[in-house]
Symmetry: C2
Subunit: 221 residues, 2 copies
DNA sequence: CAGTTAATTTTGATTAGTCAAAATACAATA
DNA sequence: TATTGTATTTTGACTAATCAAAATTAACTG
């Protein structure tokens, strides 16, 4: 069975492949994500390649094989179900569940996982709006706009936050920009590199374009 | 911080010291409990002694220091709170929570632990009736009789089961001898080495003396 | 195209935890 | 008391994961 370490390498590869759109991840980047020195990543990737979980092209980078992808999705499923469980059942704040889930995802049994899944009513997204892969390893990424490219002055609902860092999430919490919230983008200023958000009953809020891009939204009917 | 392995050694030492009454555990026994070869136990115990968690007397055995005892109690607290949580909140059967708790006890954060504790209303015993140590590392073992030495033909309540093995617990489940159940000991036969139990509305049940000793009871008012 | 630079890989060492098997110590028995 | 047997300890080796630092490769720059 895959160790926690192996699971983490695969998970990071999956997330990186999907957030960059590139299907190959350079070793330096992987080392950075895993917080290890590059030599360690090289050694690990060779071992993963031997197990058939990744394809390794020396000096170019590494990509997941279908088997590695499956395993990564399974880890992600655990992670996201655990996060939702901690929020919905245990009463944790959604901004503080990430690290706890990071540990739990490697130790909970299949039985507990499925129990959590049914306790939560087979949810499709976690507290950040990230989609939860199915037990069979399928996951759907619904196409979505963000604050930077959604229609101006139209009511939209926040559906997903693309940054999991506690500091950012605490900021999101304070502003009240939680998933599910309805807002509208009142203005964009390319020169100031900023986007202004209107929240029912609050004064307008201005974010950098980079920060604004972290909020995925869908139109409100 | 102590690794899972270290935590498990300390926990086993604690349990063994308390279930045998002896304050020193022979290396062979420790190796057996940890399912490692004796040499491994020796090596580990030396390391634990260097960290001040145990006192090691070569060729005699090993005992916990106060520091080791504290740590063991903390692990036990986690284990037992997790077990109760799995039963009460997650809906697991009490006979199947042990292994799951065995893993979880090493990874849940202090914050999650205290959250679970308050969610459960600061319970004092786990689903098997084992006492839950406090956050400060205190634990009370209420004096209790068992089926072998409690008064005959008096109603008593089962308060604790001293064997955690799934197979035994499933048997307990089937017979309905769960903690909380009220029964009476109808007969003891030293020659047959047996004890008979009377359960409201069921036919009498006969156990070996050894099995009967695993049920702790208290008198019903 | 030669030289510099940056990324990557290699090499050698380390730590935690383990096993197999040889060596040792001790207690009991003849 | 010498011998036997059992528990324990020691020794040497292994695996997974890591780091530091040296060596290599490839790409860019003048």
């Amino acid at each position: 069975m895959a160790s926690s370490t192996v699971e983490n390498y695969l998970k990071q590869l999956y997330l990186e492949e999907h957030s960059t759109g590139k299907s190959i991840v350079p070793m330096g980047r992987l080392a950075e994500l895993m917080k290890v020195v590059p030599g360690t990543a090289t050694a690990m990737v060779k071992a993963l390649a031997d197990s058939g979980l990744v394809r390794y092209s020396p000096r170019a980078g590494v990509r997941l094989t279908p088997a590695g992808n499956q395993l990564a999705l399974h880890v992600l499923r655990r992670h996201r179900l655990v996060e939702l469980f901690l929020v919905k059942i245990v009463g944790f704040d959604w901004s503080e569940v990430h690290d706890e889930a990071e540990e739990l995802e490697h130790v909970i049994s299949e039985k507990l996982l499925e129990r959590i899944d049914s306790l939560l009513g087979h949810p499709t997204v976690d507290p950040h709006g990230d989609p939860i892969p199915t037990a069979g390893g399928h996951v759907a990424y619904p196409a979505a706009d963000d604050f930077v490219n959604c229609p101006l002055r139209r009511r939209v609902q926040i559906v997903r936050i693309l940054d999991q860092q506690p500091r950012f999430l605490q900021f999101v919490n304070q502003c009240g920009l939680l998933p599910g919230t309805r807002v509208q983008v009142s203005e964009r200023n390319p020169q100031a590199d900023s986007v202004s958000i209107l929240l029912e009953g609050k004064s307008p809020l201005t974010l950098s374009t980079a920060a604004a891009a972290k909020f995925q939204v869908k139109p409100v009917a």
